[in-house]
């Protein structure tokens, strides 16, 4: 009888803990993770291998500025660090050719 009573108590206690755990989970829902910003995944990092390079190109392909759109403005320094060039400063003055690339 004592064993039966003990077993019953154990079941009740276990059930109580389970209820509390469920309530706790319901009280604190996990926030949805922010959707990844694909174009930022590779920014600031060395391109490690061919697969990464191809993923990078593919991810950014959707961003490419199109003919007829306003050119995204930037302000960058010259390689000697002495001058700053702002793309929009050429508006109304002169067309600009941008050759993007690197040594390798």
């Amino acid at each position: 009888m004592r064993l039966i009573a003990l077993g019953g108590c154990t079941i009740v206690v276990a059930a109580a803990f389970t209820c509390l755990a469920v309530q706790g989970a319901e009280a604190k829902p996990k926030p949805d993770p922010a959707p990844p910003t694909r174009t930022d995944d590779f920014a600031g990092k060395t391109v490690k291998d061919r697969a990464t390079g191809l993923k990078l190109i593919d991810a950014r392909r959707k961003n490419v500025p199109k003919v007829g759109e306003m050119a995204p403005d930037f302000e960058l320094k010259t390689s000697d660090g002495k001058q700053s060039v702002k793309l929009s400063s050429f508006r109304g003055k002169q067309p600009v050719v941008l050759i993007f690339g690197s040594f390798t």
């Binding site: 174009t39 930022d40 590779f42 920014a43 600031g44 060395t46 391109v47 490690k48 291998d49 061919r50 990464t52 390079g53 990078l56 190109i57 950014r60 392909r61 959707k62 961003n63 490419v64 500025p65 199109k66 003919v67 007829g68 759109e69 306003m70 050119a71 995204p72 930037f74 960058l76 320094k77 010259t78 390689s79 000697d80 660090g81 001058q83 060039v85 793309l87 929009s88 050429f90 508006r91 109304g92 003055k93 002169q94 067309p95 600009v96 050719v97 941008l98 050759i99 993007f100 690339g101 690197s102 040594f103 390798t104």
Partner: protein
């Protein structure tokens, strides 16, 4: 390197009427990353390192126009989808007039230059585009192209 000869040729023809810039980006094939047989440069880790490599690049390729350098966060490369290489032309109104194909296979400075015959490129090379655009402008103003 072969492409730089053609870029210089276009600059020689149109550099007085159009401002050229080399926009230096993250290394495509550094020795500590996506290495190629002729890779010789480690990926710069600081802005100063990247500036130094960019300066050397401009000198070695004999570019006669300024080199400006993207930030270490690659903000410009991201916004322009320009990595690893690409050519754009912006008109006097600040709008994109020419958006070249994605490099390296689509990098197309002159009609003569194509990285690979396998890739059939649509549209114009940079040189052909500038010829058409500036020649028309010259015609309107009775100026010899």
């Amino acid at each position: 390197m072969r492409a730089s000869v053609d870029v210089n040729k276009v600059h020689q023809r149109f550099g007085e009427r159009v401002q050229f810039f080399q926009v230096y980006l993250r290394e495509a094939h550094p020795t500590d990353g996506w290495k190629m047989k002729n890779s010789k440069i480690k990926d710069p880790l600081t802005q100063l390192e990247r500036n130094l490599v960019a300066s050397q690049c401009g000198k070695q390729l004999k570019y006669k126009f300024p080199t400006i350098v993207d930030t270490m966060k690659d903000a410009t490369a991201v916004r322009w989808a320009a990595w690893p290489e690409r050519i754009f032309v912006i008109d006097v109104n600040g709008k994109i007039a020419y958006a070249g194909h994605q490099g390296p296979w689509g990098f197309w400075p002159t009609n003569r230059f194509k990285r690979s015959g396998r890739m059939k490129l649509k549209g114009d090379s940079l040189e052909a585009f500038l010829e058409k655009t500036l020649h028309e402008t010259s015609k309107d103003k009775n100026v010899e192209p």
